[in-house]
């Protein structure tokens, strides 16, 4: 059936429609440009732009498989993954059996950004792996406010980081632009879940190889 609007509040109607449209368009644009990375972002020394801004181990070891690991510090399944496979990966790095690239994503919220930033601060102290391990074994529940500068500095202290630079870096979020770059690169790499593991650019099998230490070790042998 046909309807017509009564004339009296036409102006208010159009005003509301205009405001809603404006908020939607401006909001979406703001969010879009806010998710864009920055070419001038400060990046930790062990980071390679060519490797999706990931933190790289064994960058120059020839003839070994490349393992890309995408995680979010707040993701509970990532903590489980670390508990099962952390040692295998550390060993592969130590024995130079693989080039390993950690991509610290931050899609779960602002506390993920804080944690990712702190991990980069730790990377500058050559303590990324230790930070990574200590964080996951003390991982707080998601977005409860538990991950703040104090918490992150206590993780640092627990693994023996004492430098004032680390504390400043955590407090100031010095690498938060870089965290956005990592997120943008992960989005472009079509990573749709965490953890995600690529061996030589190909994802390993989610059903059998992620949470079985033996199968995982075999999968990353290349």
């Amino acid at each position: 059936m046909a309807t017509s609007s009564s004339g009296g509040d036409k102006f208010t109607r159009n005003l509301v429609i205009g405001m809603v449209t404006l908020v939607v368009v401006v909001g979406a644009a703001f969010s879009y440009f806010g998710s864009k990375g920055s070419e001038t972002a400060a990046i930790p020394s062990s980071v390679s732009k060519a490797d999706g801004y990931g933190i790289v181990f064994n960058a120059d070891v020839p003839n070994v498989p490349t393992i890309d690991i995408y995680e979010d510090f707040q993701c509970p399944v990532c903590a489980r993954f670390e508990a099962i496979n952390g040692i295998t990966l550390e060993k592969a790095i130590e024995e130079k059996k693989a080039k390993v690239i950690y991509h610290v994503l931050s899609f779960l919220g602002t506390e993920s950004i804080l944690a990712a930033n702190a991990s980069a601060c730790a990377a500058d102290e050559d303590k990324f792996l230790a930070f990574h391990k200590a964080f996951y074994s003390n991982q707080p529940a998601e977005n409860t406010g538990a991950i703040d500068a104090t918490f992150l500095k206590s993780i640092g202290a627990a693994i023996g980081i004492t430098s004032p630079e680390f504390a400043t870096c955590v407090d100031n979020g010095g690498y938060s632009d870089w965290v956005r770059n990592v997120a943008e690169a992960g989005a472009k790499a079509n990573v749709n879940s965490t953890p995600t593991v690529f061996v030589n650019g190909k994802e390993i099998d989610r059903e059998t190889e992620y949470f079985n230490a033996e199968a995982f070790a075999k999968a990353i042998a290349g």
């Binding site: 059936m1 309807t3 509040d9 429609i17 909001g27 879009y32 899609f107 472009k188 079509n190 879940s193």
Partner: protein, 170 residues
Amino acid sequence: MILNSIDKFASGKYGSWFGLLSRLTLGGVLFAAGWLKIFVPAKSQMAVRAYEVLPIWLANILGIALPWAEVGLGVLLVLGIALRFSAIAGGAMMVLFIAAISQAWARGLSIDCGCFGGGGTVDPGETKYLSEILRDFGLALLAIYLVRYPVTRFAWEKLTKTQGVQENGN
């Protein structure tokens, strides 16, 4: 016929109240769904990519735009402004969601619809395709009701039925 009795119901005593309920339900769900995703754009982008329909760059744009559009439509529906337009847009969204979820199901992907945040790849045992489709189907029906009977209670924009003009003879 069933359409006849729906017509009778809609123009009866409770029709406009049901319209209000439809507006609040469809608008409320859209608003909540958008609001939960608006501040985690990277997660929302991930949810759209996981459907594996759109090219990655387009999925990444849609992942950011969609939550804002949902919130905007939700506000219009709840307030009852530009109701026909927002009901058509809301209904069209539901139809697209149903199509997207169905193709994921048919292709054997294991994803969460990401409707209210979340989303992305999940374990094969954790998919909820049927309930997601049924929910969106129900919301699509409400949208169709609103498109056809846009005179509802407590709408900001007061619509009146135009006397003597009946586009449909039933």
